[in-house]
C-alpha cells in the first residue's frame, strides 16, 4: 500500500502544507498533554500514608499554571487561523484568469462534463459532452461551473485536494490548475441516494498535444 497521494493541482501543496502545519503545532500540544496526563496518573497514584494537597485554584501563583499554557494555545490558534485563511482565500475566494471554462453537471448518479470544442467557447454548438470521464490539459487553469439536476452532490478530486458541493438551482464556480499528467478519481462526496456509492468518475490530465488531439477527435461536426 502506498500511503502518499499525488499532488496534482497547483494548490494541492499549499493545502498539504497547512495540514502539516497543524500536525506539527497541534500534534506537539497533543503529545505534551497526553504525556503530562499519563505522568500525572503515574506520579500521583494512590500510596499509603501520602495525603493529597488541598488547593482550590484561587491563588494567583497557582492559577498561572493554567493561564500561561492558555496564552500559548491562543497563539497556536492565531497561527492556524492566519494560515487557514491564506489557503482558503487562494483556493476558494479568488478566481485566477482561466484558460478554459468547463461545466460539471451532477445528477443521480453520474457526472456530465460539458467543455468547449474546437472554437474554445462554452455553450456553442460544438461543445463536447462526456459522462463520468473528464479530459483536461496539464498546466492550464480551468474554471468549473457546478450545476445539479436533482439533489445535492459534491465534486471532489482528492489528488487536486478540491471539493465543492453542487447545489440545484445554483451555479457555483471554482477553479483548478492540474500540474501532473495522469488519470485520477472523481468522487461524489455528498450522499445523493441509492447510487451514491457508484457515482464516481475519472479525470484524465493530458499533455498539450494529447489534449489537442482529443479535442479535435471529439468535437462534434456542426452543420452550418
Amino acid at each position: 500500500m502506498d500511503f502518499t497521494l499525488p499532488q496534482a493541482s497547483s494548490y494541492a501543496g499549499s493545502i498539504d502544507g497547512l495540514i502539516l502545519l497543524i500536525t506539527v503545532l497541534a500534534g506537539a500540544w497533543l503529545l505534551l498533554a497526553e504525556g503530562f496526563f499519563f505522568w500525572l496518573i503515574w506520579r500521583f497514584r494512590a500510596r499509603d500514608g501520602v495525603r493529597t494537597q488541598y488547593l482550590d485554584g484561587t491563588e494567583p501563583h497557582i492559577k498561572k499554571w493554567i493561564s500561561r499554557p492558555h496564552t500559548l494555545i491562543l497563539i497556536l490558534d492565531v497561527v492556524v487561523i492566519v494560515a487557514a485563511i491564506r489557503v482558503w482565500v487562494n483556493v476558494k475566494q479568488t478566481l485566477p484568469v482561466a484558460d478554459a471554462t468547463i461545466r460539471v453537471i451532477g445528477q443521480q448518479w453520474g457526472w456530465v462534463f460539458q467543455q468547449p470544442g474546437a472554437d474554445r467557447q462554452l455553450d456553442t454548438a460544438d461543445d463536447i459532452y462526456t459522462t463520468d470521464d473528464l479530459y483536461v490539459e496539464n498546466q492550464k487553469t480551468y474554471h468549473f461551473q457546478l450545476q445539479s439536476r436533482d439533489v445535492l452532490h459534491s465534486f471532489s478530486v482528492p489528488v487536486f485536494r478540491i471539493k465543492q458541493d453542487v447545489v440545484p438551482g445554483r451555479t457555483i464556480t471554482g477553479w483548478f490548475t492540474p500540474i501532473a499528467a495522469g488519470t485520477y478519481d472523481i468522487q461524489c462526496v455528498e450522499i445523493c441516494g441509492i447510487g451514491h456509492g457508484v457515482m464516481g468518475g475519472r479525470i484524465h490530465v493530458q499533455d498539450a498535444n494529447e489534449h489537442a488531439a482529443w479535442i479535435a477527435g471529439n468535437t462534434p461536426t456542426v452543420t452550418q
Partner: protein, 571 residues
Amino acid sequence: MATTTVDAHAHDSHAHEGPKGILGYFWSTDHKVIAQLYLWTGMFMALIGGLMAYVFRMQLAFPGKPVPGFGVVSPVEYNALVTNHGTIMIFWVAMPVLIAAFGNFLIPLMIGADDMVFPRINRLSYQVFLLSAIVILASLVVEGGGFGGAWTAYPPLSANPAYNLTPLGATLWVVAVALEFVAFLLGGINFIVTLMNARAPGMKAYDIPMVCWMIVIASILFMLSVGPLIAGAVMLLFDQTLGTGFFNPAVGGDPILWQHLFWFFGHPEVYVVLLPAIGVTVDIVATFSRRKLFGYRLLLYTAVGIGVLSFFVWAHHQFIAGIDPRMANIFTVTTLLISIPVIEMFFVVFATMYGGSIRLTVPMLWALSFLAEFMIGGMTGIYLGSSGSDIYLHDTYFVLAHFHYTFFPIAIIGGFAAFTYWFPKMYGKMLDERLGKIHFWGTIISFNFIFIPLFILGGLGQHRRIYNFQNFPELAPYQPLRVVATTALVVMLLFQLVFFWNLIKSFRRGVPAPKNPWESNTLEWTADSPPPHGNWPPDQMPVVYRGPYEYGHPGRESDFWPQNVPPAREA
C-alpha cells in the same frame, strides 16, 4: 436564601406510587424509575445502533459477501443503516443515557430533593421519548425501507420521495426526531426548574455538584438551539407530504436553508452531550483523586463560555456547501476560538489530578480514558475547523474518525463511567471490578483499532457513505485497513458480553453496596442504596454545609468531608 425545599404536600399525594408490575414502571413518576427507563431504553438502542455498525462495517470490509446474521447488504440497506446508526446513537443513545437517565437520577439526589419539581411532566417526557423510539424503529421496516439520506437529512434528497425512494421511511424519520425533541424539551424544563428551586437548605449555587450544573447548562443550550430545527423539521415534513417547497429551488426554496437550521442546532448539540460527560468525568476524577476540584468557578464559566460560543460556529459544517466563501473566514475564527474554553476544562481536570492520590477503580479508568481519547478528538477538530484544510478533509473518513473520537468518549465512555460509578447507588449492588477492568480494556483498545485506520483512510481521500470502495481505483488497494477496523469493531462488540455478564452476576449475587462505597462527598451517597421513593425519610432530608469537593481538607482525620456533615460535629 436562594433555596427552598421541594413542596412537601405535592409529594405526599403520590407517595404511595411505588412501581407495581411492568406497567407500574411505565406509569411511575419517581425520578429514579424514569431514569432507569431512559437508561435501559438507551442501552437497548445502543445495542441496535452497534449492530447496525456491525452490518455496514462488514459490508465495507467484505463487500458483496453475505453478512452473518443479516445477509447481503444492498445499497438501499447500506444507506438506511448508516443514516439510522448516526441518528440513533446521537438522539436515542447519547441524549437519553447522559442527559435524561443521569439527569433524572442525579439531580434530585445530588441536590437533596425528594423528586423532580414536575414529576408528571417527567413521566410524559419518557413516554413521548418511548413513542419516538418506536417510530424510529418502525421506520426501518416499512415498505421501501428506512430513510437513507444521512443523519443530516439534507434536502432535496430528504424532501422528495422521487429522489430518496423511501417515502414512508423518510417521513417517519422526521416525525421520530421531532418527537424526540419534544421529549427532551419537557425533560430539560424539569431539570432547570428543579435545580433552581428544589435544592437542600444551605446548598448555594457554588455548592452544586458539577455534573448537575453541566446537565442543566446542556438543557439550556438544547432549548435555545432546537427551536430552529423543529421549525425546519416541520417545513421538511410539509415538503415531503404536502408538496410545499421550502427547500426546493424549483419553486423558490433553498436547500441550504435546511443546512443552516440543522447545524444551528447541530453544533450546540455536540456540546449538549459533551458537557454532561465532562460533568461526570470531573466528579469521578475529583472523587478518585481525593482532591478538591481545582477552579470550580473557572470550570463553570468555561462551560457557559462554550455554550455561548457554540452558537457562532455552525457554518464550519458548510464551508464547501455553497455558502459565500467570505463567511468561511469568520467561522474559522470562531471555531478555533472554542478550543480555548474546551482546553481550559482539561487544564482544570489535570490540575485536579495534580497532587492527588489517584485510585484506578473501574469508573476512574473510564473517566480517565474519556480525557485521553477526547483530546485526540479535539485536536483533530482543528484540521476541520480551519477552512483551508477542510477543503480537502471535508466529508472524508477523517471527519468520521474525528467525531467518533468525540462522540464515543462522550456517549459510550462517559456513559460507562457514570454507569459504573452510580450503579451501586442505583441498584444497591457492587459490580465486579475484575470483569469491569476486562470490559474496559477490551473496549478501549478495540475502539482505537477501529478509528485509527479510518483516520488514515480519510487522509488518503476516502469519502463517507459509500457502500463499496472497490468502485474507486484509488481507494480499492487500502482494503486491509478496512478489515482491521471491522475486526476491531467485532471484538469491541464481543467485549460488551463481559459487561452484560458482569451485570447479571451483580444482580444475582453481587456484594450489597454500602451507602457510600467510594467515600464521596455529594448528597446522593447519604441516601440508602438503592434510595427509597422520596430518597430520604421525610424527617431526615439533608442539609448542606459546604461544597461538594472537600477532599483532603487539612486538619481533618478523614480525607473526605460530606456536604451534609454539620461543622459542629467536627469540633
